[in-house]
Subunit: 258 residues, 2 copies
């Protein structure tokens, strides 16, 4: 089943989603950007799509409208959009309730949340991306399932409350693991050491964590309660109060959650 | 060049190193454990090696003695070991100085630090493990380089001071990424959600971080300075003060280090 789809937004999610949807056989009718130049850049990624900075979609041929914008912009844009009869409006956010689309002019609403981290300059294989779906309307939910299935075999129907919890977990699992690597990079750079040395460790630590479960996989001075090393590391980090404090708190939490 | 090697210690590093050394053509002469039963368990992993709980190695045929014990036990054991003439004593720790072996009865001392996280129940491919080596004696350093080369093509000569800095970085890159995954697991479990859903995100986040560099790879509410979501997440986590505090501190550090 192929859909006609309008994309509202020009960020990282839109950047990756737009060509993937076209490759899966769907038609991108319009791409909306507050900044029309950004929308025009994105139309270049597909065969045929119109760039627009007008929120009046009453004449649009799209059936599904995907709001791929920052969480803070969702409600405002949802309220201002003028949508055609029988249209479905979905957003792609992990942390915004379905209810937030309740005052839009859409006939049906839903969630179409790709649980992945998107950056320009990094290809995404959508066939490995889980899609988290939600709608109060069964027919809409089925359509979203078909749309998701055209991109990926992995999909879940998840209520807003659970999706929000999952989004907090995703911040730890994605953004915060990345920040731990960031801090490690800075320690290495500051010492004039090549971060390359640490890459096999990162890969093994994360692979092991996913295979054995993180509790069983833990090693290092905190889990060994090696307070001499913990204190030495804390002292070493005193050039950056915030990083030293992060070291202390996480080490204590590792000790406490054995 | 093949060596005769005695292993002092029965922990995770010894567990993985012993069969790898034998596979590389070296001879394991003795395996020491304070608890001899543990040493005997380890002798089962190689063709021929003697289990012992005696620190007197004056009659040993080993040339290289590898201290693979916890950081806190290194100095005590190093001092108590009775080693034969012309022996080389090394330890495998990231955070203990070379000097700490200075009062041992070894003729030569050095560091033989495999920069990896080791757990039983998880196979290690030593050919991808970087070895960090150090010795004040050139001939000893060359021997350690040959020994490391028999296990892995990746090796670096690193001074104690740099190795200690690197070890702090390794705690962030390995142990703390693992703990972020641990916290994510617990949030999912508490909500009755399957952690499996988050695995593609973890894999992509870490791969992206290593490819683009963690600064460029960062996404999520903190880097977007989406304070509404940050506050919601913080409130959500109020059932666990320590985890809520970790959330707050890391988010702030992401914002501050843009």
């Amino acid at each position: 089943m192929n859909f006609s789809i309008a994309i509202i937004g020009t960020g990282n999610v839109a950047w990756h989603l737009i060509p993937a949807l076209e490759d899966a056989g769907h038609t991108i009718t319009e791409i909306y950007g507050r900044d029309i130049e950004k929308a025009e850049q994105l139309t270049g990624r597909v065969y045929e799509a119109e760039a627009t900075d007008d929120l009046d979609f009453s004449e649009s041929k799209a059936e599904i409208f995907i709001l791929a914008v920052s969480d803070t912009a969702i409600v405002e844009l949802a309220d201002e959009l003028i949508l055609p009869e029988d249209s479905i409006l979905v957003h792609t956010s992990g942390s915004v309730s379905l209810e937030m689309l309740g005052y839009s002019s859409a006939t049906y609403t839903g969630i179409f949340y790709p649980l992945q981290t998107f950056s320009k300059g990094r290809e995404i294989d959508f066939s490995e991306v889980p899609f988290l779906l939600e709608s109060d309307d069964q027919t809409t939910l089925q359509k979203l399932q078909k749309l998701a299935k055209s991109l990926s075999p992995i999909q879940y129907v998840v209520k807003s409350k659970d999706r929000k919890a999952l989004h907090v977990a995703a911040v730890f699992a994605g953004n915060f693991t990345n920040h731990m690597i960031r801090i490690a990079e800075e320690i290495m750079n500051r010492q004039g050491l090549d971060f390359e040395m640490l890459k096999p460790l990162v890969i093994e630590a994360v692979s092991k964590s996913l295979q054995l479960g993180a509790k069983k996989a833990q090693t290092g001075p905190a889990i060994r309660e090696d307070f001499t090393t913990l204190e030495n590391h804390y002292q070493f980090l005193n050039y950056n109060e915030s990083v030293a404090e992060i070291y202390k708190l996480i080490s204590q939490d590792i000790i406490d959650s054995q």
